[in-house]
């Protein structure tokens, strides 16, 4: 393709220094470097930011160099915060990093040479510059946009200097199946290119508008400064024209050379990504991770193309570099291994391949007939067939597979086939809602999607990536509409030879579970095979589930482990997206179907089961009387509710474990234990019992501002963040390196500790008490307060149904506010009557600034039972500063 740029792109002008008044840019870092060419006329001048002079003034020796390369149409201004922060850190006694941020030739304040610079030339140019600068020692590259490609080209060509690569949104490869992003296609139209990029600042302005939140005026002015007229914008057009749209493009070969070379790099790598990018979407991140699978990756949800403006990338970069130095000094991997030898997840499917015993029962079948009963023999064969069939259509170890199949025997078969292949199963809780699920699936970038019709049509409509496989067979037109490449029946037929691929190892990744915190978007939690086996073993040990146990699996994460436990499991008739619709009759029917002795339910389901107990027949009650263990996991269940459901299962011990997606079974308490704890007045919090067999619990005490410190303790009666360790704690968060790092803060080296984000304390008997979530800690002027204790005190009042205690105002001087549901419920939001306010102030020891009455407290989207205190705090802050009396 030949693209013409306006004449302006051919004008020459020397490098100059930027104006002195650009926001956030210290002129002290600017310098102009002349790089000699083959003849004197070929010499070129670069403008760059370089803190070497400042470091020399400080008398410090750099530990290494960060070589930063901007993209199009920015300039070294993009890296101003890193240059400043690195220099400040060195001045404050931290590690000294030399930061060199170049303005690429034709760009920023570097020389306008009038020469066209395709990618190969640009990579050579950068090498010539670093030769002139005589860089030595450890060099980490850092690139954004097309600067990412150029920096990686330099990295591939300088193995003797290269210590690591760091990338913000960029790409080194255009997948054959996909077209280049629409905005670039538009800019590349010959009729538009010159106008959009050079003659007018349209391309520049479009890029500057991509920041989230929008850039302040002064920063935009900083970016515009070198590109004020057409004569200075030639490079912008040149860069766009240099995008290798297909293999005929002159830069295609160089891009291929770089992308191939990158895949051979073994140096440490960091990727900081803004997913809201119309150009470099998640699929390019996925491609880069395929090339650099060892990279530390952080996706900043909500950030976009200008991730360097949207988030604190400089802090992340310096943290990562410092961690690298520390870990090489300590030479400890920091990732402990679980020494226990564990049987693989699928071993019962092998062992019982000839058994006619039941492994799974579906209470709901598509045609509404009697429950479907599946034997171990059939399940085992199906899993082998699907394993072989999926392998035949290209599903392989390490591929990500999103399962959009409702709980059923089909789900179990597909799940264990994926596990057996070593594919990574992406499990997204339907309770996240379509928007949350879409965000989670997009972020996880599955290679394959296996689903039923509703899931697949959502996947199609919302543009979820991946090859699509349907569980049911559809007419050709429907298949086309859904983008389905295979049906499960075809997969089974393809796998009739039952040819097994090599089994994955214990340290391979097995699954990514998406959880919803009480704040923020869902996070993907990564488990290895060893860790999932450890979850299974913890469940088996704690609740005596084993071969032949009848299990009602009404709680998603545990439901899938039935076959791994050797159990006979049944999913009750329920809408998985709405656990609170489960009825007592449906539970009884499920119990009867497998002679269940163990029942797992989600806490949201418990209330409705109790409420619908009146519909139970005598036979139903008889079936329920056979249950020995009842378990409700996911959120605390009140003693009242637990007592009520225990009455329905008179021979069962009721348990509520404490855990989270990151650690599914951390402590456990029985109903008797809850009653005993309740009798201990003034303990403050919800007693969640003692750590399970292999779990250890420690507390990170809080400081005056409510932040958790690093000195973990097991001392009783110290309130702080709950930190847990167990073989079945997750491996890491998916593509959230900073979040993962924070979750391990203060952990014991060589052990896997996870910060739960919950706050609580241990008592003298070793029991754990939960007092709320870390963001719900209220830092008042007289000390730090956790909400659960006062909430419980307030809920003792007969006129109060439920209470939420939150803070308003700045941290360190927050005022405490009680928000209550009354008995009978109020119809609208108001201040409490003086009588109620007095009563509430009378039962708590902390000063309460205000008492608000609401018809209904807001609860967490996933667990109907957890009060959303963060939202409640924002709402109360607004009302109590004079805002409208709206409902929370």
């Amino acid at each position: 393709m030949s693209l013409r740029l306006p004449r302006a792109a051919e004008l020459r002008s020397p490098a100059i220094l930027p104006p002195h008044d650009l926001d956030g840019l210290d002129p002290v870092f600017s310098r102009i470097v002349s790089v000699p060419g083959e003849s004197a006329a070929d010499a070129v001048e670069w403008h760059l930011l370089d803190n070497a002079g400042r470091l020399a003034d400080l008398g410090v020796t750099p530990v290494g160099t960060i070589l930063c390369v901007h993209g199009n149409p920015t300039w070294s201004y993009l890296w101003r915060k890193l240059v400043s922060q690195a220099t400040d850190a060195a001045a404050n006694g931290g590690e000294a990093w030399r930061v060199i941020a170049v303005d690429q030739l034709e760009m920023g304040f570097s020389e306008r040479t009038g020469v066209r610079r395709p990618l190969e030339q640009r990579v050579r140019d950068l090498g010539a510059l670093t030769d002139t600068l005589e860089l030595d020692g450890q060099v980490f590259t850092l690139g954004h946009d097309w600067g990412g490609v150029v920096s990686l080209g330099w990295a591939v060509d300088h193995p003797e200097l290269l210590a690591g690569v760091m990338l913000l949104n960029t790409a080194v490869h255009q997948p054959e199946s996909d077209r280049i992003p629409a905005p670039l296609r538009l800019a590349l139209k010959p009729a538009l290119l010159g106008n959009a990029t050079v003659a007018t600042p349209a391309f520049l302005e479009t890029t500057l508008a991509l920041a989230h939140p929008p850039l302040p005026k002064a920063i935009k002015a900083g970016y515009r400064a070198p590109y004020l007229d057409a004569a200075r914008r030639g490079g912008i057009g040149g860069f766009v024209a240099d995008i290798p749209v297909d293999e005929r493009h002159e830069s295609f070969a160089e891009l291929t050379r770089i992308s191939t070379g990158v895949a051979n790099l073994t140096v440490p790598a960091l990727m900081l990504w803004g997913p809201r990018d119309p150009i470099f979407s998640d699929r390019y991140l996925d491609d880069l991770i395929d090339r650099l699978p060892h990279a530390d990756v952080h996706r900043f949800e909500g950030a976009g193309h200008l991730v360097a403006e949207d988030v604190d990338y400089a802090g992340a970069v310096l943290t990562w570099l410092a961690d690298g130095i520390r870990s090489s000094e300590e030479s400890v991997s920091g990732t402990p291994t679980d020494e226990t030898e564990r049987a693989p997840l699928w071993h019962y499917l092998d062992e019982m391949r000839d058994s006619d015993e039941t492994v799974a029962v579906d209470m709901v079948t598509p045609n509404g007939t009697a429950p479907r009963v599946v034997s171990w023999k059939l399940m085992s064969r199906r899993v082998r067939q699907i394993t072989a069939g999926l392998a035949a259509v290209g599903v392989k170890k390490g591929d990500r597979v999103s399962l959009l199949v409702p709980p059923s025997a089909d789900l179990i078969a597909v799940l264990y086939a994926c596990i057996r292949i070593g594919a990574i199963v992406v499990v997204v809780d339907a309770g996240l809602g379509l928007k949350g699920m879409t965000r989670a699936v997009r972020g996880a970038c599955p290679d394959h999607v296996i689903g039923a019709a509703p899931g697949l049509s959502a996947a199609r409509a919302l543009g979820w990536p991946g090859q699509k496989i349907s569980t049911a067979g559809y007419p050709a037109a429907v298949r086309r509409a859904l983008g389905v490449s295979h049906s499960l029946a075809e997969i089974i037929a393809l796998g009739s030879d039952e040819r097994m691929p090599a089994a994955p190892s214990a340290s391979d990744t097995a699954a990514i579970l998406f959880t919803s915190g009480s704040t923020g978007p869902a996070k993907g939690v990564v488990y290895t095979h060893a860790q999932l086996c450890a979850v299974r073993d913890a469940l088996a040990a704690q609740y005596g589930v084993g071969v032949g146990t009848g299990l009602v699996a009404g709680f998603a994460p545990f439901a899938l482990l039935g076959p791994a436990l050797g159990a006979r499991s049944v999913t009750p008739d329920m809408d998985v997206t709405s656990p609170k619709t489960l009825t007592a009759t449906a539970v009884a029917a499920a119990v009867a179907a497998v002679d269940a002795t163990v029942v797992f339910l989600s806490p949201a389901a418990v209330a409705n089961v109790v409420a619908t107990a009146g519909e139970l027949t005598d036979d139903d009650r008889l079936a329920l009387a056979g249950v020995e263990r009842f378990l409700s996991a996911g959120a605390p269940v009140s003693e009242r509710l637990l007592s009520a459901i225990s009455a329905l299962m008179p021979n069962a011990t009721a348990h509520t474990p404490y855990g989270m997606t990151e650690g599914l079974l951390m402590t456990d308490i029985t109903l008797d234990g809850i009653r005993e704890a309740a009798s201990e007045a003034g303990a403050g919090g919800v007693c969640v019992g003692s750590p399970t067999g292999t779990t250890r619990v420690r507390i990170a005490p809080l400081d005056d501002t409510g932040r958790a410190t690093e000195d973990l303790t097991e001392a009783p009666d110290v309130t702080g963040e709950i930190v847990v360790s167990a073989p079945h704690v997750e491996d890491h968060y998916d593509r959230l390196w900073l979040t993962h790092r924070a979750s391990r803060r203060g952990g014991v080296p060589g052990e896997r500790w996870h910060r739960t984000g919950d706050v609580g304390h241990l008592d003298a008997a070793g029991r754990l008490w939960v007092e709320g979530r870390m963001p719900h800690v209220i830092a008042t002027a007289t000390g730090v307060l956790t909400p659960v204790g006062p909430e419980q005190a307030i809920e003792q009042l007969h006129e109060v149904a439920r209470a939420g205690v939150v803070g308003v105002g700045p941290d360190g001087t927050r005022q405490v506010v009680a928000v209550v549901e009354t008995v009978p419920p109020a119809r609208r939001v108001s201040l409490a009557t003086p009588g109620l306010a007095d009563a509430i102030r009378g039962v708590v020891t902390v000063p309460i600034a205000a008492v608000l009455v609401v018809p209904k407290l807001p609860t967490d989207i996933r667990h109907n039972s957890k009060i959303n205190r963060s939202m409640l705090s924002d709402w109360a802050s607004d009302i109590l500063s004079g805002g409208r009396m709206r409902t929370p």
Partner: protein, 323 residues
């Protein structure tokens, strides 16, 4: 120490004079009428008369300056004359007389531009954005006082917020009188959090500033009870103590602010016997949050309020004979 207290005929001035005298200092008061405080020497005169001011500061070690024109309405020139001119004259006279300590009693409204105050510490006085003539002139005066601060003339500014208590003619009497006449609405929901200070606490806080001025001079401090409550609860508490019905009807704050400015303007042209029933400033005060970060105040002044809000209401009720 010999201490001059100006403006000791008002509720707060009397309480301050009494408090300082009680700690063993020799107190002289300066105002137009007798202070009525036992054990102090009254010097009668106006803060706007230069000679009287010069006489008053002779042979004193410290000045606590409360004298001011406090009102929601009136001729702007009067506010300037008393609050700015009076303070300037007093500062000049005091430095000339070799006084070493100066406590300027100010108001949080000097830094208030009409928006909510949610847990802020004392911000710099800002006469340009302060609302109303009182706040504007107090802001100018506070800036004058702090500008005069030096190692030999140590100045501290304290800003008690909404002082109330038995005998209070400003807040309590106004509320009680209007509520009794059924003329006191709530603005919006009445949920805005407002921090106030009980009279005894205000007096002890100002006395603490005097004791600590050598260590904390050059600074401003907001003084409150540190117990913010919704404005409706405060009004209800005052009304209950006085035995009148609490306001039960509500007016949109926006409307009240609009009406407030209209009435304010009308009052300038044709002042009534009383002050205007609503001003823009008052409407803002009653419909936006006003509470403060008291950590620095309490730490620096080594002071905590001794009388809680609820104890204050009890004492108020007692004064109305309802205790």
């Amino acid at each position: 120490m010999r201490v001059l207290v100006t403006g000791a005929s008002g509720l707060l001035g009397r309480a301050v004079a009494r408090e300082i005298a009680a700690t063993g200092h020799e107190v002289t008061t300066f105002q137009r009428r007798a202070s009525g405080v036992d054990g102090v020497t009254d010097v009668l005169g106006s803060i706007t008369e230069a000679d009287a001011v010069t006489r008053a500061v002779q042979n004193v070690d410290a000045v606590v300056h409360l004298a001011a024109k406090v009102s929601l309405a009136g001729d702007p020139a009067d506010f300037d004359r008393v609050n700015v001119g009076g303070t300037r004259a007093l500062l000049a006279a005091a430095t000339a007389a070799g006084v070493g300590k100066f406590v300027f009693v100010s108001s949080p409204s000097v830094a208030h531009s009409g928006s909510s105050i949610v847990g802020d510490d004392a911000l710099p006085a800002d006469p340009v954005h302060a609302r109303g003539d009182y706040a504007r002139t107090k802001a100018e005066a506070e800036l004058l006082a702090l500008a005069a601060d030096s190692p030999s003339f140590r100045v501290v500014a304290v800003r008690p917020h909404l002082v109330w208590g038995p005998g209070d003619t400003q807040l309590v009497a106004r509320v009680v009188e209007r509520a009794g006449a059924g003329r006191l609405p709530l603005l919006d929901s009445g949920a805005a959090l407002i921090d106030t200070i009980y009279i005894d606490n205000a007096a002890s806080g100002i006395a603490a500033a005097l004791e600590r001025v050598d260590a904390v001079h050059g600074n401003s401090y907001v003084l409150t009870n540190g117990e913010p409550r919704p404005v409706a609860e405060l009004l209800a508490g005052i009304c209950a103590a006085a035995g009148v019905r609490a306001p039960a009807w509500s007016v949109p704050a926006g409307l009240a602010r609009g009406a407030g400015s209209l009435i304010e303007r009308a009052w300038r042209i044709k002042p009534g016997a009383d002050e205007p029933p609503m001003t823009r400033f008052l409407a803002e005060q009653l419909s936006t949050a006003h509470w403060f970060d008291q950590r620095r105040t309490r730490a620096d002044l080594e002071w905590t309020p001794a009388v809680s809000l609820d104890e204050g209401f009890r004492r108020l009720a007692e004064s109305y004979g309802h205790g």
